[in-house]
Symmetry: C2
Subunit: 299 residues, 2 copies
Amino acid sequence: MAKPTVLIVCTLDTKGEEALYLREQIHRNGGGATLILDASHTSQNVQRYREWSDEIIAPCLEHSQELSTLPRGKYVDKAIELCLPPVKDLVEKGQIHGIVSAAGSTGSSLACAIMRRACPIGFPKLMVSTMASGDIKPYIEESDITMMYSVVDIAGLNSILKRILGNAAAAIAAMTNAYAQSLTATSPGTESSRRVGISMFGVTTTAVEHIRKLLSSPPHQIETYVFHATGAGGRAMERLVDEGQLDAVIDLTTTEIADELFGGVLTAGPDRLEAAARKGVPYVVSVGGKSALNYPSIY
Amino acid sequence: MAKPTVLIVCTLDTKGEEALYLREQIHRNGGGATLILDASHTSQNVQRYREWSDEIIAPCLEHSQELSTLPRGKYVDKAIELCLPPVKDLVEKGQIHGIVSAAGSTGSSLACAIMRRACPIGFPKLMVSTMASGDIKPYIEESDITMMYSVVDIAGLNSILKRILGNAAAAIAAMTNAYAQSLTATSPGTESSRRVGISMFGVTTTAVEHIRKLLSSPPHQIETYVFHATGAGGRAMERLVDEGQLDAVIDLTTTEIADELFGGVLTAGPDRLEAAARKGVPYVVSVGGKSALNYPSIY
């Protein structure tokens, strides 16, 4: 098996110093190998770093003239488009086993989209962000990205940022090592279990608890996975079906559809209800919570 | 020095199985020692676990009759009040070096309040939560709690939750070991530096960049820490002054005061502006961003 490897997502044009500090601390804290994915907005500094290290992948570099003329939002979209294929490839070939980044708002959007879209649930993902004491739903959605608030701005190293990046490095190094090991280990008992996802909300809790008890007891002894119908929950359930991590779904609580249709905040997007049908797994659907619509409170 | 020790905050009455799995995985992933802080709502199961292990501190147990009659919100307040003194004591005596918890909404409120109020910034704090794909500001505020979305409900172990708790255990074990080591290590160069906090917002960025450049260049060579005036940012700056981690403040951007006075969302609370005066550190205050008020968008 390949050596446990952490992918560091960064923009070398503006945050090279911080990325290299993260890299140094990963090695210092027992991390195996590192790779750097550069998604810079401009070509500034990138060539200098590439000459210095062969660990750097820079899929944006040959498009740097085009990228540098784009406003932030468009640059993020284009950089994601350019970075996704090589990252997906590294994940599929088992050449990386964890992913980490440290950034402000633009960089967090970019790195989290790559983590969310290229790495399965369970694959270690860590984002150190200036945005992590607020609404992080747009960054996380249905994925298990771990968010660490940087407290101070990520612009130049100081003793507090060093401490926080040091914590992040220790965490991702350890998660990556554990994940790489788990790929080769056998986990007796769990593989043969059948796995059923169930959607839940306040109004369906009693029913779900009853179903869970019946399914997990003899003679069934099925593993159950409860998802709160919060938008992220429904998306997560559908995603796990797509990833082959669920064998059947009892979709008792489809309240997210009402939110999607009438502008509520707990929508799971327009594709809700599709994964089980697409994958052909057994699927029971009901209308739990459908009479509820969730609007934001202003204060 | 004491062995690197992780404090696991949990409620043994409802989430004992998950807490013990977390503990087992911390040991499996190279963690030193563990301690369990039980903050149960009822006394159910607690005595059984205490007989089984001497690692358990249960400051709520003798108040369990009172606690069990309280509604959730009041129970959380009371449990925080009971748990804070022993945790503060463990932190101050250097007997714990990291803190972790896995919970739903009630347990996340409880554990995060303990982490925020008992542990300084830089001290490793990790919360695995069903609430971590949404607005986490009430949990994090000005602290550096790391949040990991549990994806599935934390109610019974299954292969996905095991994987996520395994990642969390590896992360907190490594952060705790690194933190404990750093307490004994000397960090040449940083201790002699003077440290200045500066508050920033969009409208003051150019000024702050200029100040930062002047301060960090010779002959000053001062470490600068930039805080975004997002509410959490102002609070973090004041907290670091209180913790003795900043030697002076240039409070160029006091927009948070306007939000506090007129109901904006980026308030840093009624105590903003007080820490520097209280601690007697040099303090320059200006009115940057004061004409801005931040209201939530409904969609």
